[in-house]
Each structure stands twice: as structure tokens, then as C-alpha cells.
Symmetry: C2
Subunit: 128 residues, 2 copies
């Protein structure tokens, strides 16, 4: 199943994608072992097969144990989910989401510095 725009990954699919993003190319067994949720081996297998059909992952079948790779970069998916959420519950305002996100938990000084940097570049941009 090839599409022009990839579907929003489901929860289970997201779990698997995360493993693939972190580990890189992996077999079903590796994903299943990394992903220590309750789900059985065949469940993970089946989901990964479906993800292949959807175009979310690629499969290398040259080995007996097929090797899967994420076909969508982590960043893209993050962006997709963020804009999705922004549109659906924050009236299209990313800043609203950012404010909400930041006010929930505490943030490390490094991240604060990054934020400040981004903020300042945005401010500079707004001036012009």
C-alpha cells in the first residue's frame, strides 16, 4: 500500500517506530525484546507487517530474520503529530501548545537555553 501522505501512526505502531529510531534496523525479535510491553511476539510481527504495507517501515528480506527500518524519520513524525495536535486542539497556534507543554513539567537548563535561543531568533525575525 503506497500513499502520498503517510497515515498517522497508531499507538502500537509508534512504540515500534520508537524502537527502530533508537536502535536502527532491527529484526522483529529485537524489537519485541526491546519493547517490553505485554504483547506477544506474533503481535509485534503482525503489526510490523502491517506497517510495511502502510509504508511506515521498510523490510529487508535477504536474511531469514527480516530486518526492518523506519521509513519515516523521527522528526517528520514528530512534526506531523505536533501540527496535528495544534490544529485539533490548539486552534492552530503552536505557541499555545508550547506554553501548555512548558507549564506542565520542569525543564533542564540546557533545554531552557535552547528555547531561549530559538525564542530570540523568532523575535528577531518578527522585528523585520
Amino acid at each position: 500500500m503506497s500513499r502520498d501522505t503517510l497515515p498517522r501512526p497508531t499507538d502500537a505502531e509508534l512504540g515500534i517506530l520508537r524502537v527502530l529510531w533508537d536502535r536502527g534496523a532491527s529484526t522483529v525479535r529485537e524489537v519485541h525484546e526491546t519493547l517490553r510491553d505485554g504483547s506477544g511476539y506474533t503481535t509485534v510481527l503482525k503489526t510490523m507487517q502491517i506497517m510495511t504495507e502502510k509504508g511506515l517501515v521498510m523490510r529487508d528480506e535477504s536474511q531469514r530474520a527480516h530486518v526492518y527500518t523506519a521509513r519515516v524519520p523521527r522528526e517528520n513524525t514528530q512534526r506531523q503529530l505536533v501540527t496535528d495536535l495544534v490544529d485539533r486542539v490548539f486552534g492552530g497556534s503552536p505557541a499555545r501548545l508550547a506554553l501548555q507543554a512548558l507549564s506542565t513539567k520542569k525543564t533542564s537548563p540546557e533545554e531552557l537555553a535552547e528555547l531561549r535561543q530559538l525564542l530570540e531568533s523568532l523575535e528577531k525575525e518578527a522585528e523585520s
Copy 2:
């Protein structure tokens, strides 16, 4: 169906909640008319009935046309969805989500000012 913690609203439910948050208490007809997606009247009705069972909305049946009200405040749902997303795709770092959100689209000067204010209070907090 009463629960301790409310379920994550589905897409259709979120659309209805948005109408209720914006309009306040509304009948099915009003929601259906505001919500100009393709869905039929009975679809919206059914969904709102289910939402009542789930505890997402309250229903006042004293009138012939029942009047529905959101039972979850917009802020709570926003927080719920944000922390959800943070946990599932941003490794638990709200700042990462904020950075992603802000780098996607441009932000108004007013929102930038708000962000700066929040950022500075966070920085102050981090110092101590």
C-alpha cells in the same frame, strides 16, 4: 459509565468537544450545524450519546432537545493530550515538544511575549 480517569477523546469526540468549549451548552442540532464536516445528524447524536456514557459530556434532558455541556475543561484535555504526546514521542521532554512546535509555524508577537515571560520565570526557577 463512570471512570476515575477519563479516556483520551477520539478525533470525532474532540471535534464535538471543541464546539462545546467554544459555544458552551448546545443541542445536538447546534453542534451538528456548527461542525460542518460531512457527518450526518444521527452520527453526531450517537457520538454525543456515547460521550455521555464515557463521562466526557453532561446531558440536560429537561428540554425536548437535550442540552449538552462539556464535562472536561478544555485546559485539562489539552494537558492530557500534551503529556500523552510528550511521553509517546518526545521521550518525556516537554521542551522538545515545545521546540518542535515553535519551529513549525510562525508565531505572533503577543505569543512570543508570553513565551518570553514563561521562559524567564522558568529560568528564574532553575537558578534557585
